[in-house]
Symmetry: C2
Subunit: 79 residues, 2 copies
Amino acid sequence: MKARVTVTLKNGVLDPQGKAIEGALGALGFGGVGGVRQGKVFDIELEGADKEKARADLEAMCEKLLANTVIENYAIELS
Amino acid sequence: MKARVTVTLKNGVLDPQGKAIEGALGALGFGGVGGVRQGKVFDIELEGADKEKARADLEAMCEKLLANTVIENYAIELS
């Protein structure tokens, strides 16, 4: 089973990397960019076909390793 | 308008970061992980309401800055 975990910074958390990208886009001539926030995506291949178990495992992985839940949110998509 | 750009490594490109995460998940006791690939996600706030123009701009941003198209694919979602 394939899963995609998307980890993004919570609102209010400063994102200097996103700000740098925003500045670079402006310098390249792209106007009208109101803001950029950068996050991470993990494409995870899981064995087994039990979606409930997979989702529970993925939540545990996010809490323990993939996301820093103090400053980041995570979203899980199973396909 | 909000857009999400997801940049992932092409198939066949080695991903040592993903491999390290896979190893760490195994060490934490998560079995059944067949593979991990890490990518990047950009949440971009764009001014204007023209979806066609926004998509064209985002493609240009990906080609010029956000993705290294030699080794990475990108996907654009507009909402």
